[in-house]
C-alpha cells in the first residue's frame, strides 16, 4: 500500500431488481412492487421503496409480504436484463478504476486511491459515477465514501436511496460506539445474538471486550470484529475475486416425492450453473447435490470427477446419480441445490480406454 489513507467507495444500486422493473414498465412506477418468483414458498428478492413503509423486505416470504401490503404488485425476476444492466454499471466503475470488487449484481467496492480519471477527490468521483449510472441506465445508486471497505459500506447505508455519504474516520468514531452490533456489516443475527449473550450490544461494548476473547469465541473473524469496532479494516479491494464454487438452488412449490421427481428438478439448475461457469471461464471437478427435506434436515452428497466439467448434460447426469432412494426415503424434498467446486480452467478430458478403441 502507498502512503496516506486509501479512498474506498461502496456503490449500491437502489432496490435494483424492482427499479429495473419500474423503469421498464411505467405502470409499476409509484406503486409498491416486489420482485419474486410465483409459488407458495417464494421469497421477496427485492422490494421497491414504495413497498418498504409497509414492512416489506427482501428475503421475506412472499405470503407475508402480501399480508403486510395487500396492494403489492408481484413481478417475476428477469435476470438476463439485470445482468445486462449490471454489466453497464460495471463499465462505469471500470472507467474510473481497475480495482472493482463486485459483491453481487447490484453492489461493488471500488478503490479510487489512484483513479484513472476524475481527479483526486473521491467524493467528486462518487458523484460522477452516480450521474453516469443514471445517464446510462436510468437508475439511481447510493454511494458511501471512506478510507476502507467497512466504513464505505457503513456510509452508503446511512443515506438511502439516491444518496452520497462521506464518512471520515473521526466522524465514524462516535457513530460506531453507539451502533448496535447487529448493524455492523459482517455481524449477522446469529453472531449478534451470541455477542448479546456475552453482554455485548454496541460497538462501544465491542471495544471494551478484549480482542483475545472475541478471537476465542469466533476464531479469526473475531479479530476482525475487534478491528471494525474501531472502524479499522485493512482488507484490500479485490478485483475479480475467483469464486470458490458456483451453485444454484431452487425451493419448490410442492414437495417433490421420489427419486425421479427430484432428478427432474436438476436440468434448470445445471443450466444456470453452466452459464455462470462458462461466463467465468471455469469448470469444476466436484459436483455437490444439496437437498432440504420436509423435516427441515439438509443433506448433501458430493462426487469428485477425474476431470473438470461444466456442461449441463454432465452436471445433470452426475447430480442425478447422487439422488438415491436411500438418501430421500419417504421424505418430501423442499429445496434442490447443485453446486460445482474444485474450480479451475476447463481442460480436455483424458481419452478413455474403451471409448478410444471403439472410435478407431
Amino acid at each position: 500500500m502507498g502512503e496516506g489513507p486509501r479512498k474506498i467507495l461502496h456503490v449500491d444500486m437502489d432496490a435494483f431488481y424492482a427499479s429495473v422493473e419500474q423503469r421498464d414498465d411505467p405502470r409499476l412506477r409509484g406503486r409498491p412492487v416486489a420482485v419474486a418468483w410465483g409459488g407458495k414458498r417464494s421469497v421477496v428478492l427485492t422490494a421497491s421503496y414504495e413497498a418498504r413503509p409497509f414492512g416489506v423486505r427482501s428475503a421475506m416470504p412472499l405470503y407475508r409480504a402480501l399480508e403486510r401490503c395487500p396492494g403489492l404488485v408481484v413481478v417475476e425476476p428477469r435476470f438476463e436484463v439485470y445482468r445486462e444492466v449490471s454489466a453497464g454499471v460495471r463499465e462505469v466503475f471500470r472507467s474510473y478504476t481497475p480495482l472493482v470488487e463486485p459483491l453481487s449484481l447490484d453492489e461493488a467496492y471500488l478503490d479510487v486511491t489512484a483513479p484513472l480519471r476524475g481527479g483526486p477527490s473521491a467524493t467528486r468521483i462518487a458523484q460522477g459515477i452516480r450521474a453516469e449510472i443514471r445517464a446510462a441506465t436510468g437508475l439511481t445508486a447510493t454511494a458511501g465514501v471512506s478510507v476502507n471497505k467497512f466504513l464505505a459500506k457503513l456510509a452508503s447505508g446511512l443515506n438511502k436511496p439516491d444518496g452520497l455519504t462521506v464518512l471520515l474516520p473521526a466522524q465514524a468514531d462516535a457513530l460506531l460506539a453507539s451502533l448496535p452490533t447487529s448493524a455492523f456489516h459482517g455481524i449477522g443475527p446469529a453472531t449478534a445474538a451470541k455477542l448479546a449473550a456475552h453482554g455485548i450490544h454496541t460497538g462501544g461494548d465491542l471495544r471494551r471486550t478484549p480482542p483475545a476473547h472475541l478471537a476465542a469465541w469466533f476464531g479469526r473473524v473475531g479479530e476482525h470484529f475487534a478491528r471494525i469496532a474501531w472502524g479499522e479494516d485493512d482488507r484490500p479491494v479485490e478485483p475479480d475475486r475467483a469464486p470458490v464454487s458456483v451453485g444454484s438452488e431452487a425451493t419448490v412449490a410442492e414437495d417433490l416425492r421420489g427419486v425421479e421427481a427430484v432428478r427432474a428438478a436438476l436440468p434448470p439448475l445445471a443450466r444456470g450453473v453452466e452459464e455462470r461457469l462458462a461466463r467465468a471461464g471455469l469448470a469444476g471437478r466436484v459436483v455437490v447435490l444439496k437437498l432440504k427435506l420436509d423435516d427441515r434436515s439438509v443433506v448433501t452428497r458430493r462426487v469428485t470427477l477425474p476431470h473438470p466439467v461444466r456442461d449441463e448434460a454432465t452436471l445433470t447426469r452426475t447430480a442425478a446419480h447422487l439422488v438415491t432412494a436411500e438418501l430421500i426415503g419417504e421424505k418430501g424434498v423442499r429445496l434442490v441445490g447443485l453446486t460445482v467446486s474444485g474450480l479451475g480452467p476447463p481442460t480436455e478430458p483424458p481419452p478413455t480406454l474403451f471409448g478410444a478403441v471403439e472410435s478407431e
Partner: protein
Amino acid sequence: MRAHVTKKILSEALGLLERVIPSRSSNPLLTSLKVEASAEGLTLSGTNLEIDLSCFVPAEVQDPRPLVVPAHLFAQIVRNLAGELVELELAGHELAVRAGGSDFKLQIGDFEAYPPLSFPNHADVSLDAAELSRALGSVRYAASNEAFQAVFRGIKLEHRAESARVVASDGYRVALRDFPASGAGRSLIIPARSADELIRVLRDGEARFTYGEGMLSVTTERVRMNLKLLDGEFPDYERVIPKDIRLQVTLPATALKEAVGRVAVLADKNANNRVEFLVSEGKLRLAAEGDYGRAQDTLDVVQGGAEPAMSLAFNARHVLDALGPIEGEAELLFSGSTSPAIFRASGGGGYMAVMVTLRV
C-alpha cells in the same frame, strides 16, 4: 456365559469386524456385534448389508450363550485393556469385560431382533488365499471409487482351465493378474470396497468359495464372509490390449518409478499430470511441463522392436500406479503414440497394466 480369551486374538478379530460394522445406521441394530459361544470359542459376526463377516476366536468357554453388544464400544474397550488375557462374563443384561485391574460392564442388545446371518457349510471351489489376496491387491488401484459405471467400481474374477484372473478398470486403464487355480469356478464381479476387506482377511491356506444368488461366500480358517456381488457387464478389456508391439523397453521398475515421480512434480495437474516418454537409441527421456516450469530425466534402457523411436504421453499418476506391483525389471510395450500401452514385469508373473496414452 463366561469366557477367557487372549486379548491379541480378540483385538484382531474385532479390528476386522470394526471395519465392516457401521458406526451409525438408520437401523441401530446393525451397529452391534453378535457373539455366539461354543465350547471351542467365540464366533463374532456383523454386517453392513454388503458384507457379512464372521470371525472365530478360540477361547475357553463355560455355559455358552449368545449375545449382541455395541460393536465399536466393545472393540474400543478391548483395545484399551491392559494385560494379555480378557475375561468376558454375561450377567443379566450386562457383559462384564475384565482384564488386569479393569472391569467394564457393557449393556447388551436384543439378540432375538438381530438379523440372522447364515454362512454356507459347503464349498464349490477352493483357491490359494495368499495368491488371491496378492492378485486382488495388485489390481485394486485401477478400480474406481467414484465412477458411475457400476462395473468400474468392482474387480472381475474370471476362472479359466488352470488359472484364475482378476481384472479392474476405471475406463482409463486396466490392471489384471493371472494366478494358478483349479476347479470349475464362476466369473463374477466383487465390489472393490468389499475386495479391500477380503484382502485384509485373507492370509495363508485355502479360500473356499461358495456361490449364491448374487452373492459369493468366502471361508478361510478363521473367517467367513458373504459378499454381495455387482451386477452388470464388464467391458471387453481384452480388445484394448495391444497385440502389435512395435517398440519394447526394459529397465528397472524402481528407477522408472523414481524418475517419473521426480518429473511429475512439475507436471500440469490441469492437463492430466501429463508426462512425455521419448524412446530412442537405448534411452528413455521423460519430460513434464506445467505452469511453473519444466523437467527432464533420462534413463538407460534395453530397447527392442521394429520401431527405432517413439514418443508417447501418459498420466504420471497412472504410470506410478501401474508400476506399483512390479518388482525387478519392468517391461513397457508400445504399439504406437495413440494406442494403449502395456506395463508388466519382465519375465512374466501374471501381472499386466494397460493404459491410455494422452494426445501428443
